[in-house]
Subunit: 305 residues, 6 copies
């Protein structure tokens, strides 16, 4: 359960309202690397947390903090849009980039749909879509998703920092950039607790013998023409999990050509398709026999007869 | 540029076609943790690769391999759907889970829209959306996104393995599970080359002094009521980047209450809203003065006068 | 800013786990009438609140409560899915509707993507999309959107109540149904404070004389063929705002036929389109002259010459 | 069934084509508060109308009218884009806001994808998504959704009115603003016929005794720290439905901590998660016993043993 | 402008309500090949029609007819769902496929969100998205899009015909199948009027000399390994437009390797990326010089200095 | 399976980087008529190909080529964005349209989310959605979808050609325009092999006698008021399939008024709806008896009793 005090986690001050920057800040609210994403991702991971209780608490605490970040950013957008409406209708002062952004059609939805406030959209006006919430049920997989989210999140915040000269906005971003740095570390700390690279592969609870080990430590090159295989930590030496050696292999078609059955009558393919399925030797030429399961094919033929 | 030989990277054999399993396999094609996602993610990372050339080559090789995985899975879906159409219309053999799945309405779009073939949709029929392609321009951030993708991808493959008894399908999944294990390791190997946790925070090219250091190593607890702060690797001891010490702090509202201006005339708020903005002491009561930027407020008042 | 105590607002008890009901509960989490929608809608309305401060507080309090509802429902989904995984793989007890739902392919994504937990999706597996967050900047418009959300929300909860026999689930829904009833009333109470129907139309700050009054109180019938115009409170008697009388009128084409210019060269229409624009009398026949702005047409002709 | 005369419901005249305004008008076509939304919403409500026939007729008449509004707006967009193409390529007259909008990248999709015509997108180019069609089967809930749609729709139209100086466009909007005013009233008139606030809560057909009455008239405050509860029509006095008294209560966690089971084997959580579920006293500390259903927990333990 | 008589274009009769079939019919309403798509596509093509007026009239007439088809199908869905609600809660008669579909979780949203009516969703519950409306401004391109829509539409209708034994439903589909046949022909008739294949390529108004003619009639084979090039009407003989001869060529990389600049400072790539761009000979090896524009590279270097 | 040589199919050279043109090129990558669409569409058609093997080979070859086109365009976007980042922060040279586009807010996501690279989005920043992949299982239907895709694709490329003066970009587009011309012809060549218009209607495998022939060759006019029916190749003369004669008929409501049952109790409609269903003569007036299936109605009444 949740409580509020109606206050902001950190000061949000805008010295010079700038509608263009308002639009750019939207990426940090409704972008795929934004705060709605991390807040909801951590909430759903917490609400479905199974296993050591401390991880549920950890997730819940940080999710609740991220909610305060959306609040800060939404306040920042609203403050940057103050005075924005007039610019649209009057069109004066065209040397001001902020005003130009309104004349240029930016922030239209912010005015038209929300009356100069923040919206759950990205910097192009695309609404956030909750399919970006990763909560897989595997703690290590989720932690990597969280590190990725905080890495792109901090990257975004540094780019936003680059785009503004407003001291208030720089101060706010300096705080958010620090929080994202900590959050990267805290999720990696969980991974370290879980064994780090020694606990690879994820999931580590799947029986090792059911994995095709021949392909588990091989870099597969799909390069054509004798082009060189990229060399690095991944191409030779001990694997990161310490259980084998990395090596490389050229990609090869082990599977042969796929061979689907003729379209069934009830799929209403064109008549010409049904006449021309497998077995038409003049069309197939001298192809090698498929390595696919004849069993399935036989069954279909039975079913159709 | 790309080339094809029309063959499968690994054998795809279905001994007992199972439309329900076809639907489940769709998650590995069009799910957010599926193969379209990794193929396109690695392609876009490669096409925008800036910096050491070997990483572009690495990404391009693996992207091209993932394309072959979509092909394998699409073939597997098609083979599992063979004979499917008849089940829909005839409705016999209700003790067979596969048939029941058709009667139950599963795989309808696969029949209705594609004539019993794979589609770029997930196991609930939701089409894949390319906003899931992460290519941030920062190699470390991208590598973590790739590890997350391969971790959820392998997790999905193990769950699919659990759901089938078909030897052909188990064999194919055993191969894909191995490839995902290698891909986890190869992206982590790049991170190791880049310095591992020593290179935190991501991005490491942002000037450290512009980050609010006070909050960069602190776990912030939003717990109420004297509830205990979750303790772990993240709450004390040296930070993962080796530059500081982790510590904890209770969340506190540094920012005060947000204070937005009265709605501007041209936003067409209700008349009652415009009459009741900041300064109406009877409505605001004895709130403490906001810590927000008065400068912005003054500007707006000027603009409206 | 926000705080949590890690506890549930109301008891969530599942006596008989039922994966089918888990799927149905998803509609109350990620459906368009679900709890994510109201939580985020009230948050964004609060964060952009301009005007009397008490409404910001009101919205913030209820938004925070709704967050606790998502938490309750997510817990309920997880509990209903416990034991679900085995059903998928073993397929026993086919007379149990819950098990049949797994065999029938329901809840696949819940297992495949989240390991038997709640997801921000609806009962068909479609992710929630934040374009459903209405925060217009006009308090009355927003309140009606909120009443609509709570009305469809309570409707959904009653339908869910109908679908379960589990005493724990019925108890939880009985609580949520009550909360939605209160929330309907509280948003309508704001509307009453703002003047109720006397404050129509929304927005009431737009100058009345700039509205085409001739059409502001008329029910327009588009019925053909002498079909009767539907009669009711809207077709005669004083208008709800007390300023005029309702009346009815038959739809009539005041605007004439639209007349667009020939495609410009740079739009690369087919050559035949460019040859056949306005002015080709044999194709236009004896149409009446358009009432559209000749001025625009002239300008375009000038521009093209 | 439907018929057309190929004419416009009201005059659409553009004196000075303005591509920026074309883009802004798109919000009224494909925005969530636009005309496609109301047209399709009323059609689906009509097509599924059950109950007094006059409401089906009412909805059908107005849906058909709204279709004519999309036609008017599409014509207006096309006329505002006439001449637009050349501006993109030539880039002259940079003091003209309309031309600047093309240089600034606005309306690109309108040219690139539609050859200077209207599209079913909003002012940021996001396509309309039919999940916004509300047709719940409960007439009162639907009417509130309709009032909300017409309120945000009229609000949008007034903002568009503010953004143009074109006499033809102002005249068209003056008409649409009037129609939205009437539509607000006509849907509220249906609510009045259904009993108005006396018919609360929606749905009124759910048995009152199955609602948890203790929470049905209480404003729940989630404020922390002795912050004042917002006072208003919703916090005391008779409820709007006349059946009880409003009162307030502080939010309290009645439900205790949620307690999910250890991850099942087949969810392939990390091994460390499975080892650390409920019962690990050192990790749980001295938490109070959960109030959640032990029955479910027992069942799961049985299932796993 | 549009009118209605409240009647159905063709008889909609359901002899045996079948909720499973209701769900399948949804594909014809809200699927990408469904009736919402064609109705809105033809409307937008008509509203933006430029060129011979008869094509606007043609499109408008058929769009209006398609609206009546959505109405018919929505009525059919509602009738197939009658009685559906009880099945969900009672769960009797499990040998009935229709009932099983409810138990299996199908049609949940139809009940939960719409009270047993049609919704603008497909057979998997995914809402229709208006990005599927093709109206390009080029009449020939649009006509091919229309033929494609009617071809997949008729295909869908034949598959639905296969899935039902209900005489009323078969009769309705028999009508819709006929309409789609006619609509295929009528759009192809427009193409014939425009010159058929002689008018290729589309658009035919683009100056021929600005096309790279060397590649305009060549089938490019990307096959590897001496695999045979597929032979057919496209590989030799006169081209369809009569202006040249078809021939084949093997794909060859004319463009060399792409060479992007080192990441700019303000993109906050990892420090290691910035150090390792083009020019680092040890990483690049003996690659051939890129054929990309050095001019751009020089400019960037200047800009960074 | 697939291979790569890391090279570009055709030269990509940018002489004058132009961020605005980068944004416009995005339409050709992630727009609905872009290269991701055709690549994935042809791949899915190939992977599900049933019938003559040569068509699978044909599709696979061209799909693989299209992948190289995405690569070319992504390279072109990256090159056009080089130097773009500085423009955003410095804001100099406002007479340069490219710089203005950055100030105007264009390409923000390209910088904020991808560090100045291509993304799988359209020119308005909307991500590509894989529901646009058409692979129906009927070869003729798919070929028409392919022609439509290549027609809108070439149209887009010609419009892009119009928007740039960069010789490198014009050269690249000249190549892509030629490829789209060939691809239009090659898919039409398949249709010719399948019989052309003689093979209509699609699907041609559906039994002709199950189609309502009365409506299969009639243009249905929905025009009101004696407006003339549009005349053309579609309104008289032999049908394109050579089996009948085209004729016209006025739309007529054969189906009567739809008559749905009263809402079932468990749908929780408002009480007033349930009281007012069919049979309430005072509300229905003297409507003619519906022609809908009484059988269904009777069944529902039985079910409710």
């Amino acid at each position: 359960m949740y409580y509020t005090d109606g206050k902001l986690q950190y000061t949000v001050r805008v010295d010079s309202p700038n509608p263009l920057f308002a639009r750019q800040l939207q990426q940090a609210i409704g972008g795929i690397e934004g705060e709605i994403r991390v807040a909801m991702q951590y909430f759903f991971q917490a609400w479905g947390s199974r296993g050591p209780r401390k991880y549920r608490d950890l997730l819940l605490n940080t999710a609740t903090e991220e909610l305060a970040h959306i609040e800060m950013l939404s306040t920042a957008v609203a403050l940057n849009l103050e005075g924005g409406g007039k610019a649209v209708s009057k069109g004066v002062d065209s040397s001001n980039p902020a005003i130009q952004s309104m004349l240029g059609g930016i922030n239209q939805k912010s005015y038209l749909s929300s009356g100069n406030n923040a919206m759950p959209i990205d910097s192009d006006g695309v609404p956030f879509d909750m399919s970006h919430i990763y909560a897989s049920g595997n703690l290590a997989a989720d932690m990597y998703a969280n590190v990725a989210a905080e890495s792109t999140g901090r990257l975004l915040a540094t780019r936003l920092y680059e785009l503004t000269d407003d001291p208030g906005m720089k101060d706010m971003l300096s705080f958010l950039i620090a929080r994202d740095a900590m959050h990267q570390q805290q999720w990696l700390a969980v991974i370290e607790e879980l064994g780090g690279t020694q606990a690879l592969p994820i999931p580590n609870s799947f029986p090792e013998e059911q994995q095709n080990e021949e392909f588990a430590y091989a870099f597969v090159s799909t390069a054509i023409d004798g082009a060189p295989v990229p060399q690095g930590r991944w191409s030779e030496g001990p694997s990161l999990d310490g259980r084998s050696e990395f090596h490389t292999m050229a990609a090869e078609p082990i599977g042969g050509e796929p061979e689907l059955s003729t379209p069934p009558k009830e799929s209403y393919a064109q008549a010409e398709q049904m006449a021309g399925g497998p077995g038409q030797s003049d069309q197939l030429g001298s192809r090698q026999p498929s390595q696919m399961g004849g069993g399935a094919m036989e069954k279909v033929k039975d079913a159709l007869s």
